[in-house]
């Protein structure tokens, strides 16, 4: 136990190195992104479900859609208000939300999710 000072110094250095990322990035947290709606989406006012639900559950909804459409051939979605929709990512969702970069990618990038939808499904070209 003659190396007390060395051990403590070593521990302090270790702690500093380990916590470095935390205090280095302190106060620099990226703000949560705001999605932008297209004019068409704004005009429609309501999505197929309440916004809250879509924000939290769109991935489950899309997963149900793809299974129902591909496996069971059921293509029509009737929501509570009785309106029906063609269950299609490219043709229904992206018809209103035609701004993929502003609407999808912003949050997906922020949460570091990389859905593979776009490997196959086509999204509308954004005019810039």
């Amino acid at each position: 136990m003659n190396d007390k000072s060395r051990i403590i110094a070593g521990l302090i250095i270790f702690l500093i190195v380990v916590t470095f990322p935390f205090w280095y990035n302190m106060g620099k947290a990226a703000p949560a992104p705001e999605t932008k709606l297209t004019d068409k989406a704004k005009q429609a006012k309501n999505c197929i479900q309440p916004t809250e639900y879509m924000r939290v559950g769109h991935m489950q909804l899309l997963n149900v859609w793809r299974n129902e459409v591909v496996r069971d051939g059921k293509r029509t979605y009737v929501n509570q208000s009785g309106k029906d929709f063609n269950m299609s990512l490219s043709n229904t969702c992206m018809d209103c939300h035609s701004n993929k970069a502003e609407f999808c990618d912003k949050c997906h990038d922020y949460t570091s999710t990389a859905p593979y939808c776009w490997d196959c499904h086509v999204y509308p070209k954004e005019s810039k």
Partner: protein, 214 residues
Amino acid sequence: MMENARRKFLKVAGISALGLSLGTKSVLNVFASADESADRRGKKTAAEITENKKALKAKHWGMVIDTRRLRTVGDLKPLIDVCHKIHNVPKFENSLHEIKWIWEDEYKHVFPTMESEYLADSIKHIPFLLLCNQCQNPPCVRACPTKATFQREDGIVMMDFHRCIGCRFCMAACPYGSRSFNFVDPRTGLDESGIFNEFPTRMKGVVEKCNFCV
């Protein structure tokens, strides 16, 4: 002394077992309430998923091709072109990378068991249209380990590209060569402006075939 130690140990073990069980119970409760709230969310958004009421129905779909009216390559080309266009079927120079949903071949390849010495020359050498036969007892479906290819109730043999792992067992199983494998990214075989937006493309590493225009 020994007795005492065992007694102590049993006491501590008993109390910690009790504590553990109480602890897990509260944890389980948290999960249960999370489930409940998910349930409530689900109920609030109860919606109905149905078939498209305008869609045609059949017990078992079939297709008839009138070979008396489609006799030349020129007759077949527009049909092949439009099918490949609306389904985003790519074109590649390298024939090893070829993707085909509908194509043409001569009599002996289209009807391999029905050849005859006395077949008229005019029939022997005219092109016939070929596509996936949508077999009643499809060998590709039996071969597929992930059920990525499956038979619908109305007889159509479907591909679910989300599930395909690209093992190509189905290609080995298909006696008619109706299946093609994407050795390269199919989007490189479609010119940018030529992609039909209403239908997805495929990705590298999946098998594809005619989907009978479901």
